[in-house]
């Protein structure tokens, strides 16, 4: 079943290059996303069997990511129908790259071989690059270049880490995850430590953790909203899954303190950096990019703190991706309507576009983790984990940074929201499809804030047990 999920988007990506109408491409993407989502839904009932000699296995961790991938692509495909109604540019390369991305990201979520994981994460980097320069402006091309170069080099470091892991696993003769976990006593500790450092820096660069975050504001600022959603909500989380896979090996090999301490440093640094830089930001997409750095920092912090923090981090993966849908799709729809994302160039959204105005406020609350959005609960869990593990400094710093980020985002969002309405606007009317995609994300995120379904809780608990290698009492909440 898993291979079908990989092959369908791949074939359709090639089909997009045929001489077909623009409308057909958009609909094809929609249908593929729907089929993908449909198949993934059946996996919640029963996990599919392993394929390709154990190279492709879907476990609870992968299932969480795969569901996020599916949901976000579905949201973007619906949004795209509306977006391309007012867009002159051809959507051929854009749609093809999206389909390639869907296929390769699916492989990331199911790959059980550390080498295959690297190859696929690198491929996702390559196919996401053309999405950024969709508008072909100088700034967007510069952003694409920066993204390609920084991420390629970062990922190259992860490749070195993967090879060091291969040296550490000299006695197991393979980089298949189950073999590494079962033979964790055979791993050479020094080489494993070295490989963990390289893997964390490499994949951390792809996640956009400080100090290797510099590509993020540029890239998200220039990419169209749809591309930014997929990068902030899925691509970074794919790299995060790779980081968690490394964590699985570390926990099993007894290096969890070493692993956690690096993650704590990276997480805290990301929070501090994003809180510092967001205050001077005047572009809403760039501000949201800093918010993405913050959220990824919180995710990493949760894994680093352990215990309930792991549960919180996995829950936050879902919430973060939904919040990113709300934030970047709203920003993208505003960018199309006004032709700008800068403060003072866009004002009075609530008067001109009442629905988008409401979404703007929703993105403020979702992005800064306010009740009743579920981001509130997951961030609270992670701060709670900091207090439980007696890392009081981390907890206090976290709260201060979150407050600063709230100020930074609120300043920009409210200046967009209020004021004398900007004229003229490029697109006069609200679009049903664009608003529907955002509205569903808002509703799901709010309902998750009020009630977590039992099956979801079970899968997250399973996944947390996979990371630590045990389902201990520390995971209850």
């Amino acid at each position: 079943m898993v291979s079908i999920l990989i092959i369908i988007p791949l074939l359709c990506a090639f089909a997009v290059f045929l001489p077909v109408r623009k409308l057909f491409r958009g609909r094809l993407f929609c249908v593929v996303s729907l089929i993908h989502a449909g198949i993934v839904t059946t996996f919640w009932r029963r996990l599919p069997p392993a394929e390709f000699n154990g190279f492709l296995v879907l476990d609870s961790l992968g299932l969480i990511l795969l569901s996020i991938i599916s949901a976000l692509f579905l949201a973007v495909s619906v949004f795209m129908i509306g977006y391309f109604e007012h867009e002159q540019r051809s959507n051929r390369t854009f749609t093809a790259c999206l389909l390639f991305l869907l296929s390769t990201m699916t492989v990331v979520s199911v790959s059980y071989h550390m080498g295959l994981l690297w190859v696929m994460v690198e491929t996702t980097t390559l196919f996401s690059a053309p999405l950024i320069s969709f508008h072909r402006t100088q700034e967007s091309l510069e952003a694409t270049w920066k993204y390609l170069l920084i991420c390629s080099v970062g990922i190259a470091l992860a490749l070195i880490g993967t090879f060091f892991l291969a040296i550490a696993a000299h006695d197991t003769h393979t980089l298949l995850l189950p073999a590494l976990l079962n033979g964790s006593s055979l791993l050479s500790v020094n080489w494993l430590k070295l490989s963990v450092i390289f893997l964390l820096v490499g994949y951390g660069c792809k996640i956009g953790l400080a100090p290797t975050h510099s590509w993020k504001p540029e890239t998200y600022g220039q990419a169209p909203g749809m591309a930014a959603v997929l990068m902030a909500g899925v691509l970074t989380q794919c790299a995060f899954l790779s980081l968690v896979r490394v964590g699985q090996i570390c926990y099993k090999a007894g290096l969890n303190d070493f692993y956690s301490s690096i993650l704590l440093v990276m997480g805290v640094l990301s929070l501090v950096v994003s809180a510092t830089f967001i205050l001077g930001e005047r572009n809403i997409k760039r501000a949201f990019a800093y918010s993405s750095i913050e959220h990824m920092g919180i995710l990493v912090l949760g894994i680093g703190l352990g215990g309930i923090g792991i549960f919180g981090a996995l829950f936050h993966m879902i919430n973060n991706s939904l919040a990113k849908v709300i934030m970047f799709l709203t920003a993208g729809s505003l960018a199309q309507k006004y032709g700008s994302s800068r403060m003072n160039e866009v004002q009075g959204v609530i008067h001109t576009y009442p629905v988008t105005g409401i979404f703007l406020i929703a993105s403020l609350f979702a992005g800064t983790a306010m009740f009743p959005f579920a981001t509130f609960h997951s961030e609270l869990m992670i701060l709670n984990a900091a207090v439980i593990s007696k890392q009081y400094a981390v907890a206090v710093l976290g709260v201060v940074c979150l407050a600063l980020l709230f100020m930074g985002i609120a300043r920009i969002v409210l200046s967009f929201f209020h004021g004398q309405p900007t004229e003229p606007v490029l697109v006069k009317k609200e679009n049903f499809f664009m608003n529907a995609a955002i509205a569903v994300a808002v509703m799901v995120l709010i309902s998750l804030g009020f009630w977590m379904p039992l099956f979801l809780k079970k899968v997250i608990l399973d996944a947390a047990a996979l990371i630590t290698g045990m389902g201990g009492p520390g995971l209850r909440w």
């Binding site: 072909r136 000299h170 003769h173």
Partner: protein
């Protein structure tokens, strides 16, 4: 075959240093092609006693992609991009060479304290891998043109691949091929982006782009 392996390792580091010291971009690409060719021969030397089909496949793949196709794409990029053919270094060539030499010395010094398990084929593989990666970084950081940055990245990847060929048993051939293919696609996309950047800059006068860049 150990002398051959040693010689190839030294050659690969030497070519990285040559790239660092080359004045023209086309010259850099040519040296890179030769370096990749030597790298492509490595599997033959490493497994000379029991040559398997996969060694031949990796060697051919490396030579075809890295020594032929990638240089071809890079030449295409510099032909279409009407930029001057000289490298624009941030630090002088003399300083670059001294920095490079220091990095090589550092790589050998670090590798003294790292013990590779099993039989790596030659003691020189690890230090040469480290030296090439560091030299690649140096090229990326100190050369400002887009194509030269790609070349720096490629030199770094060559270093990593030198290390990879000596670790065959842990990596299935499909993964090795995937890594090669990824690098090829990366260069392909980078060349296209370089081309687009150039088109955009040609369309509008430089002064406009400068003021726009200042805004963001």
């Amino acid at each position: 075959m150990v002398p051959w392996i040693d010689a190839s390792c030294i050659l690969i580091v030497f070519f990285s240093l040559t790239i660092l010291a080359t004045y023209r971009i086309s010259g850099m690409i040519q040296v890179f092609a030769v370096q990749s060719f030597v790298l492509g021969l490595m599997p033959f030397f490493l497994h000379a006693d029991a040559l398997a089909g996969r060694d031949v496949l990796i060697a051919l793949g490396t030579i075809l992609l890295k020594a032929a196709l990638v240089p071809y794409i890079l030449f295409w990029a510099i032909r279409h991009v009407s930029m001057r053919s000289e490298v624009k270094p941030l630090i002088g060539f003399g300083t670059s060479i001294i920095c490079g030499a220091l990095l090589i010395a550092g790589a050998f010094w670090v590798s003294l304290s790292l013990k590779l398990p099993g039989k790596p084929g030659s003691d020189l593989i690890f230090p040469c891998f480290l030296a090439t990666v560091l030299l690649g970084f140096l090229i990326m950081v100190t050369r400002t043109r887009a194509v030269t940055q790609v070349l720096g990245y490629l030199v770094m990847e060559n270093g990593i691949f030198l290390f990879a060929v000596s670790l065959f048993d842990a990596m299935p051939i499909l993964i090795e091929m995937g890594i090669l293919l990824d690098i090829f696609v990366a260069v392909f996309i980078m060349a296209i982006v370089v081309n687009h950047i150039n088109e955009e800059f040609e369309r509008s006068p430089v002064s406009v782009s400068r003021s726009k860049m200042g805004e963001t």
